[in-house]
Symmetry: D2
Subunit: 378 residues, 4 copies
């Protein structure tokens, strides 16, 4: 694994717990974690349960006792590390965004496909039981023809102008702001649930253009300095979409939605029914079915913790809810299960990572040109 | 009053009940109701409590014993009736949309202002206690600088393709579909709550293009025939907006949001706080305040039924909720109160009706041109 | 009508509006309202729309142009007025509680039955569309055998110890506190929905035993004096019940449930399904059905505003909610409809009023004896 | 650790994950797990991460390399194992119920106190961040004097009469049904949050008295046989309580609340505020404060995932929710932290286990005698 911050912790936890709850053909060995700061990565290795650590990712990739490279270092390092891992014949699990731009993503996909490795992108939210249930209902035809898709990813951690200039607010490191960080999840879920997007038009804003430079920062907790620096990414990006299947979509990502902490939501309205999801209540899915008798129609709140719900039986009895970290375990379970034979495939993979990037860039172009953009033109 | 259908009933009820709950300087006398079908209008007069009826609106306007003309006939008749009423020196209360197009709305506004009458447009939702509370919080500065405005008006009565071709689906009568009917309310609330819109870009769709022609129709209940006709208005219209105060907005109106019946919602996120409203729970307002102590922050659900909430003390004790029709009474109370002296003013008035129309048309132009449109260009 | 305060207003409003929304064989004429204070009752007559007023209820009853006497004067006057009205051959509509004690209630029932009049008690909450839907589902067998009934009536208007000594806090006028005022509604709904109660055991408390005597009081708004007086009724009463059909019940009424304004709730759990209701969201009923497919089970929130829901078609389109006052109109509609022929019956009637009183008294006896009491022993 | 079923898995997971998220002075070594069936316990040891296994708990206790014995074997074995562990000078962590009866619980408490060991009982729900927040608000005086405590523990896994006769339905193994299993949690939370109970009166029922004997059973999934056996524990038990501080309480536990899966809820109403909690949404606490300005009062939903909320900073960023299993980790963290020096104490301990048992038995006695019982009489 390369990276040991927020996502490093979430991924490590998944590798550690997976064998306790899921049956795998092979055992997971947490060989080595890699980071540039030796003291920090050493501590992370101990805390997270990795046998060894490396300070050079090239050394990590060169090891013959490692089958899978997990890349969750900052976004601007993804391409280089991933390409090297592919060339070394490793399976690769990459955090989102797959790359900083569409061109890079296409190269990475192409390399991965040629190498025949298992490649995965960490759009973890697909793997929540409630999201799986939404997918199942759509596949069963319960919603009918889809007319509307509405997605938001609402957070509020930037609403305080005194919040410092984190790396996520610098374009050269993060690539993008709320759009790349949050809309990326929304676009992946939309593609997963109802299919590809045809056309988009968007708008974007940076509300607070200067922020104090951080002296130090752990998670979202930082110590600010007196010096100010420019925010070079968007605080909020929203866009309208038309899907290839004819549905209309609205997407909205922001770090200025005061009161929301992790409001990754979607609503899907079809000719036969509807579903609604909110990550802040991730065990639940709201479902409306027109097939219900007229006097009994209403949105029902389903707790996706029954044994009939995907992955739920691996955990606790009904109503004993799971949390944020569990989706990583499910995704990694599927990825590892697909590693039995070369050329097998897991989802979401680099193709999904590339397609997501394509939509995000189409939105950016529409903002520059103030007009509608066809996704496939990119 | 001209018109005796859904809105005729709602307005009549308001005139009938207002004196029981509100103190007015003058008493309300329900003189005469007007409609073209004598049998129907006669029955409406009796049922709704009007002393007399007329079958020609010109005769109604010609009467000297009438101070206020209430126009809730189909949208394509508004201009002619309103202009005649203004010329006769009557106060005028007009259902939304004020007119079928911006040019007409401007003429009506101009005539009303010149005549010095009281003029009002029935954007009734402004007058719900929970909406009044949202306005109060914004005016008190509780939300701070506004960053985001999100509005929806979600209904589902057209999702069945067998639903017949009602007059609301015919452009020549209704003027517009979900956009003019539903987004009109959203735009008025947005202007009322946070101010004017600068730029917009939208998308629009008619999902079901042919519907059976109705033999007869009462409210939303209809008997269909075998003959099909073309739907000439939009089923759904969404748009992105930038407000003059710098806030970003998203608006979405649809009659295809399966499971929603009357989902007129808004969410406002500011630098200090946020509010959320949903017409299906119209007694409630959700409020988040960053001024709360850190461990106590969360969205609170306020029931706007306390005596400190506007209009609530006129009704029942706390927690004894009101319904859809009450907002009409509040609006009419304010309008009648303003009729004490000529040249006094009530809200929303024809200026608000015109400004709403301007935004709606800007959205339509953006859809035609597939690019962003400045509202003031129209 | 005798009485012109809170309930006088609610009943008057119902008589006034009923003809506008419901079809009756006869027209409702609001002949006369009666109260002891001439100035007040005169003003009430004008405001509420009564043709005349009386200051002596005996004079009212003596009038030959009146068919129905509506009694909503303070509880300690019910028996005398109702008995006189029955003797005069009038139909009688009495506010709850029917009487101050079971013996009186039995006499009133007996007199009413002998006289063959239509008699009704104002347990208005039966007549909300959402409650009607709960009843319908139970009658359809959707819930199966009932195992649990949970009822609360939670208010908080007494939690401030400075709130004055209202008449509702004096046993000689009100008869009882939260128990008679609030549990009365809960018991009636329980009987209506799942049947009679067999055994009870309760507990009761007056948290604030002395309160300032009110100089004046309008609704729940009062001006206090410096003098203190004793609260002689209960602030809160809860009890356990076993129903004749084998179900277990819990009931809780209080005026000290901080944050609740009008929390009349019930939950019913049966072998096939469940329902939940909360008066603060009176348009909604939550329903769970075990007949749903396993992966689709969840509580659904049904808005009882569709034309298939009882009384809803008389009002507004789906999703256009009604308020507190509408249940009175529905109840009075049923009562007036039953007045076509002598000996016809409406619900809830004096038998229901008596049965409710019997349960309330059984609870009081159980509190005195600190042991379980069989309702039929009283 | 003795036991390897549902609770064995939950506890093992906690020992495994604790070091990754919490800083302990000592490292946790998972030495050995014990069970009677060698094949099963061997598999559990591997899956759960224990270094070794034992098939005789006496051998486990005899080992000198073990400091803490975790007892989560069936309830009827607790006393014997715990007493032996205490005599061997081990710290002891025992699942609830501590014992099958009050007398045994008192002996275990006495032995533990004499031995000076750290002793803990697994009332895990105390350690949810939202419950900790409720406790904090009460300690801060935010709720004022407490008037009402309402608790439920609602499940529905027995509502199907075909569900087999699990060991939890047999008195000789489980000791009690819903009362001992579910009300035990409710009583502990009540004691923790607002203090000891003075008097109780209850009612109880077994709705389905005969069930098919299970051939095999894993979790709640079973294969039934044709043979029937008697259910010897309660399906539902509710009781009224008066607390020593003067508050009134209602408690209700059932496995027949159709639609509820894990409805461990409490509501607390005080003179200054109120809180509400529901385990099915365990990251949230609803709070009402009378100190809020009048027009801003309402129940707020606080997500207890901010760094100011206890334990939350150890996990993920705000809004990234935790699940059922996390409370075990928090409890075990506190317990292990208290093991630094002999005679230190953790909560809940055997005293809490004994006091909980005392209340449960007082309720049972009240049901037998059909009258109120003082808890301290037992």
């Amino acid at each position: 694994m390369v990276g040991y911050k927020f996502m490093g912790k979430a991924h490590s936890h998944a590798y550690k717990d997976i064998g306790m709850f899921f049956d795998l053909d092979k055992s997971v060995e947490m060989k080595a974690i890699c980071g540039r700061d030796e003291a920090n990565v050493k501590e992370a290795a101990e805390r997270f349960g990795w046998s060894e650590y490396e300070t050079d990712w090239r050394a990590l990739i060169a090891r013959s006792d490692i089958d899978l490279i997990d890349v969750n270092a900052p976004s601007n390092s993804h391409k280089e590390i991933v390409m090297a891992a592919i060339q070394a014949g490793k399976h690769v699990f990459c955090e989102k965004p797959l790359a900083l731009n569409l061109q890079d993503a296409r190269e990475m996909l192409s390399a991965a496909e040629k190498a025949g490795i298992v490649h995965a992108v960490c759009f973890n939210y697909r793997y929540l039981p409630a999201v799986q249930l939404a997918k199942q209902l759509i596949d069963e035809g319960r919603l009918g023809e889809i007319h509307h898709y509405r997605a938001t990813y609402l957070q509020d951690w930037l609403v305080d102008p005194g919040f410092p200039l984190a790396w996520r607010l610098q374009k050269e490191v993060a690539g993008s702001g709320s759009h790349g960080d949050l809309n990326a999840h929304c676009v992946d879920l939309a593609r997963y649930l109802i299919g590809d997007i045809d056309r988009v038009v968007g708008q974007q804003k940076t509300f607070v253009k200067q922020r104090p430079i951080a002296k130090s920062m752990v998670g979202l907790t930082a110590v600010s300095s007196d010096e100010m620096g420019a925010v070079t990414v968007d605080d909020a990006t929203s866009f309208l979409a038309q899907f290839k299947n004819g549905a209309l979509g609205t997407f909205e990502a922001t770090r200025f939605a005061t009161g929301w902490k992790n409001g990754n939501t979607f609503e899907i309205y079809g000719s036969n029914g509807a579903v609604r999801f909110n990550l802040e209540r991730l065990n639940e899915l709201e479902v409306f079915l027109r097939e219900d008798e007229p006097h009994l129609q209403g949105f029902r709140t389903i707790m996706a913790t029954e044994s009939v719900h995907k992955y739920a039986a691996q955990w606790w009895p009904p109503g004993h809810t799971i949390g944020y970290e569990h989706a990583f375990i499910h995704l990694i379970y599927e990825m590892i299960s697909s590693m039995d034979s070369r050329h097998s495939r897991t989802y979401p993979d680099f193709y999904d990572g590339m397609k997501c990037q394509q939509v995000l860039e189409a939105v950016e172009r529409s903002i520059e040109t103030q007009s509608r953009v066809h996704v496939d033109e990119l």
